[in-house]
């Protein structure tokens, strides 16, 4: 296992510690609940936006905590939903007069934990609501989900509600906005290698050199099919068509296009993928208003990528362009 870690059981806490040590002015950490939060939260002026799913998808979500994005994240262990008390405490500690919005990717474990936490918080009079993200067009139901999975499109939901919340939107408006973004965003991914959770010590699934898992889930769950490896352009064609046909995206649409690396694929290759994706967008009459080529939602060190399209209108475009500051940065 060619990975940097110490005791595998400390993988998540040590990552969180490192993150907070690297951002001492802006982030705080509650070890008991793997909770990373903005040091200026809770606030009287805004709805708190929180999320927590399994770890191993970094920068999602702990590294997306910051002004204009999440106010807190409380991940579980690697690929394990956060325990309900993490979610509950996260809601409780972030709560202010304007309430709390939680975002949950559609995975059974995550959903159950957050819904239970919501019930508990509601019982205490906290104004909390949730939105569910299910952008992955690959499969309808899967190993860990009823319905579609929630994957990289999640970034756009966070960005939009994060910006709107910063501008003072109330909880109901944010729920509406988050659901709107989710209804307009579609993703599909492909894996070229497996990945190894430190505590497991072995790959989560088997895949041979020269094979790919088309439509993979972000925990290595099966997608549409196992296939032999193809040229980059062919792969993007399949991803793009699957994603674009689903909404469907139509000629004249303005879009945001994301090419997301799954963790082990270098950015050089992501730009090769972007090249073809942008060509296909053009051929379909889609106008790419903003593009995102980087890692947003990964599966540990898995080689692979996903493609996300978001249909834009003036409201969403403004929200994507609103300022935001998170730990993932270059300078």
């Amino acid at each position: 296992m060619n990975k940097f870690f110490n005791d595998p059981n400390n993988f998540v806490p040590e990552m969180c510690e490192g993150l907070v040590m690297a951002n001492p002015d802006t982030l705080k950490y509650v070890p008991e609940y793997n909770m990373i939060y903005r040091s200026d939260m809770p606030s009287n002026d805004k709805v708190a936006i929180v999320q927590g799913s399994g770890s191993g998808h970094e920068p999602a979500h702990i590294m997306a905590v910051g002004k204009g994005m999440l106010d807190a994240a409380c991940p579980g262990n690697v690929f394990a939903a956060p325990p309900v008390d993490f979610c509950y405490e996260c809601i409780k500690r972030m709560n202010g007069p304007k309430g709390v919005l939680y975002i949950v990717n559609n995975y059974q474990g995550d959903k159950m934990a957050w819904q239970m936490a919501e019930e508990m918080a509601l019982a205490e009079g906290i104004n909390v609501k949730g939105i569910m993200v299910d952008d992955d067009v690959s499969v309808k139901d899967s190993t860990h989900t009823i319905g579609r999975r929630g994957v990289a499109g999640n970034f756009f939901v966070i960005k939009a509600v994060g910006a709107a919340s910063e501008q003072g939107a109330d909880l109901d408006a944010l729920v509406k906005l988050g659901n709107k973004v989710n209804s307009l965003v579609r993703t599909m991914g492909v894996a070229l290698t497996s990945c190894t959770p430190p505590a497991k010590g072995s790959p989560i699934f088997q895949i041979s050199d020269g094979e790919m898992e088309m439509g993979v889930g972000i925990h290595g769950e099966p997608g549409r099919r196992r296939d032999k490896m193809k040229a980059a352009d062919e792969i993007i064609e399949e991803l793009f068509n699957a994603v674009a046909d689903d909404l469907p995206f139509q000629s004249g649409d303005r879009v945001a296009l994301m090419v997301n690396g799954l963790g082990g694929t270098p950015i050089s290759e992501l730009y090769i993928l972007y090249r073809k994706a942008a060509e296909m967008a053009k051929a379909r009459g889609l106008t790419i208003i903003k593009n995102y080529v980087n890692e947003y939602c990964t599966s540990l060190e898995m080689a692979g990528a996903s493609l996300t399209l978001l249909k834009l209108d003036d409201e969403l475009e403004a929200l994507l362009n609103a300022p935001a500051e998170i730990p993932i940065r270059v300078f």
Partner: protein
């Protein structure tokens, strides 16, 4: 305890009975789950409750709500498979219902059953007749409700009637086909085998009856 409301002491004892039932029947419950499911049920319960047993002395005891809320969280987080959120939801609904209450009467218990059943159905999407522990909880609840209207103070009668109803549900559901949980993947193979969750509810109710009335 007969005829008086139950307090935190009895709630603690009830949780203890549930846990002990799981410990004593770990292998048996897993064996039953193995017939048509994936064979983890007994182990999931026992492993999760073991965490509660270890933290028993430090659980919050300010009131029924705080105690049950912590039990709910630990159950949800440490019991594996579908059972964690299902059993955790039951404890949680009981906890939420008990907010601001120092004791509970039989009406409260029936209401807690209603809230727990609703919560479990919401959490796992099972309907009555899907051959899950819902199908044990509903007759149990109905038995309690019956006693409540006939003889509202009689805990002894309530527990006896309820445990009989729970036990009866084992046979009543045996020939159903499972529609939820791992069992449902084996399709018709579940017909004719008893559901481990239903057996667990019945066993717990029987042990409650023994613990509180003898």
């Amino acid at each position: 305890m007969a005829n008086k409301n139950i307090t935190l002491v009895e709630v603690e004892k009830a949780v203890q009975v549930i846990m002990d039932t799981a410990f004593e029947n770990e292998d048996y419950f897993s064996e039953l789950d193995g017939l048509a499911g994936d064979g983890d049920f007994g182990n999931s319960l026992a492993t999760g409750f073991q965490v509660i047993r270890e933290q028993w002395d430090t659980l919050p005891r300010t009131n029924i709500n705080a105690f049950l809320m912590k039990v709910a969280m630990l159950t949800t987080s440490h019991v594996g498979g579908s059972s964690g959120p299902i059993w955790g939801t039951a404890f949680m609904r009981a906890a939420i219902y008990s907010r601001e209450k120092d004791d509970l009467n039989l009406t409260d218990i029936v209401n807690i059953f209603d809230s727990a059943i609703e919560g479990i159905m919401q959490r796992g999407g099972a309907q009555p007749g899907d051959k899950t522990l819902i199908d044990a909880l509903i007759p149990t609840r109905n038995a309690l409700a019956q006693v409540k209207s006939d003889a509202p103070d009689c805990w002894k009668r309530a527990l006896k009637t309820a445990s009989e109803a729970a036990t009866q549900s084992i046979e009543d559901t045996k020939n159903l086909q499972a529609k939820r949980g791992r069992q449902c993947f084996t399709g018709e193979r579940s017909i004719g085998t008893v559901d481990p969750g239903i057996v667990a509810v019945a066993t717990i109710m029987n042990n409650m009856n023994k613990a509180f009335t003898q």
